[in-house]
Point group: C2
């Protein structure tokens, strides 16, 4: 009988939580989806795995039998994947569009010197995933920005801090200023990405610096082009890392340094059970970016 291993992870999570809703939340899927998937698994097995009640889900006898055997299977599969990848001497690295940027190249070449014969496979993550593929274990290591959802459960090493600036339409009243204080911007609508939640949301909307001022959402955008378009069109503003202007400069958008918000930290993060190649990669990240941490200031004036 064939199943997606994802379904097995679902099952394990439900068994562990004893609660569909909580498991759904932990797995970043909706509760009805879990319901359906679980029913599917049960019907394929021809066996009821949980007894449902209004207080939660408890394993049946058959469910216990399965719950005991699924984790070794998953562990075996994960090990097979890890070892296959290390045999190929390929290190997959996830990265956010604007995480390490110019440092990335240096890191990759440094890693190439440290482990000759290895290849680095850079995978850009979609905007919707601040973990850059780490959460889904698509990559064992990633370059990303702190804080991100679930950062407690991974290895994390901060590489450098970068102040933030604000992207304004060039017609904005504050567009000509050399710098602005965040309090001046608290009432402007903001442009956001679809999956802005948790600490990630809090950070990029600077919720803690708003003193309770309501956030007005000017637009929700899926891709960088739309994002910049929405700002240029005057639908709102957005906080971005200070390096953004280097990569996304447009005549109709002005980037102004912002004071009064915490800087954004660029970090390398890795899966808990990562191998030696990952450790080496982390070491390269630290080495290559060392100059940044000492050399430049991490806050605007």
């Amino acid at each position: 009988m064939d199943v997606d291993t994802r379904l097995l992870r679902y099952f394990a999570a439900i068994a562990e939580e004893g609660n569909l809703t909580r498991a759904a939340h932990r797995l970043f899927v909706s509760q009805p989806s879990l319901t359906k998937q679980l029913k599917h698994l049960e019907s394929q097995l021809g066996v009821r795995l949980f007894t449902r009640s209004s207080t939660g889900m408890t394993l049946t006898e058959a469910g216990h039998a399965l719950a005991a055997r699924v984790p070794p299977v998953l562990a075996g599969w994960d090990a097979a994947v890890r070892e296959t990848r290390s045999t190929a001497r390929v290190l997959r690295v996830g990265f956010l569009a604007s995480a390490a940027n110019d440092a990335t190249q240096g890191i990759v070449t440094a890693f190439g010197r440290l482990r000759p014969g290895w290849r680095v496979d850079l995978r850009q993550a979609p905007w919707s995933d601040p973990t850059a593929g780490l959460a889904a274990a698509e990559v064992p290591v990633a370059l990303l920005r702190l804080p991100f959802p679930g950062h407690e459960s991974f290895g994390v090493r901060t590489l450098f801090s970068e102040p933030r600036c604000v992207a304004l339409p060039s017609a904005h009243p504050l567009a000509g200023r050399p710098s602005v204080d965040f309090r001046e911007l608290r009432d402007d609508p903001v442009i956001v990405a679809p999956a802005l939640e948790g600490t990630w949301r809090e950070h990029w909307l600077a919720l803690s610096e708003r003193d309770g001022h309501e956030v007005r959402v000017g637009a929700v955008t899926e891709h960088p082009d739309e994002f910049l378009g929405a700002i240029a069109g005057g639908h709102g503003i957005a906080l971005v890392p200070a390096s953004t202007p280097h990569f996304h400069s447009r005549p109709d958008i002005v980037y102004v340094p912002v004071t009064g918000v915490s800087p954004s930290e660029v970090a390398v993060a890795w899966l808990p059970d990562a191998g030696e190649a990952v450790c080496d990669f982390v070491r390269c990240c630290v080495d290559v970016t060392r100059s940044r941490r000492t050399g430049c200031d991490t806050r605007w004036g």
Copy 2:
């Protein structure tokens, strides 16, 4: 990283065959599908598993690493499934729409006596699967008809033979006859099911009794209703088991016994590694149908 276990079986088959086309045939999928699935697996792993050439596929180093680790994972999963099912004391039994028919009930009750507390979960197979779920390992045991594709690789026990008859539109010239010889029907078009191939096709089209006479296909039907409809509509005829009239009698269709074709055998078949419950079930099948084998004739006149 998550994959469907089916994909792992695909990979194992390709590695074993060293040839996409042959593996595709063995797995009952098209070759392009395998190509795409394999590419998908490779891209998820970020690793090339085979080197392609015009002579076939050979494993890379990484491919070898994976090929060594996949079979234990699959074995572990299959064992988990087996044990979960046996814990629940549920025996799943596949059956063809018209395989054992009236004997089925007796078999199930006999099994219930032999293993109190167990439940039998009867699963009717679609027409397209003459193995009744055995080939896909959806069930560990099935009631079906011989011969079926791949019957060498399963345990098989013939239960009884049943002569065949022909389904004719009531307006057919031979419809009034008490019986017909198959040679009289060789030039009539036939109604077939979609996935009629291999020995299964040979049996139900009676290819060996045609002496090279071409088969004309009158219609291809998906469901029993269409099937009977096509015959009633005069689009062709079809060989069916002698018990069919008991379950599908219609005023516009006449069933006439046919001589000159081999009888159809009803059998119970099981997976090679099935457990004790399956053995008991097989025993019940044999016991319950014993009278048939001695009591009635297995050929018309």
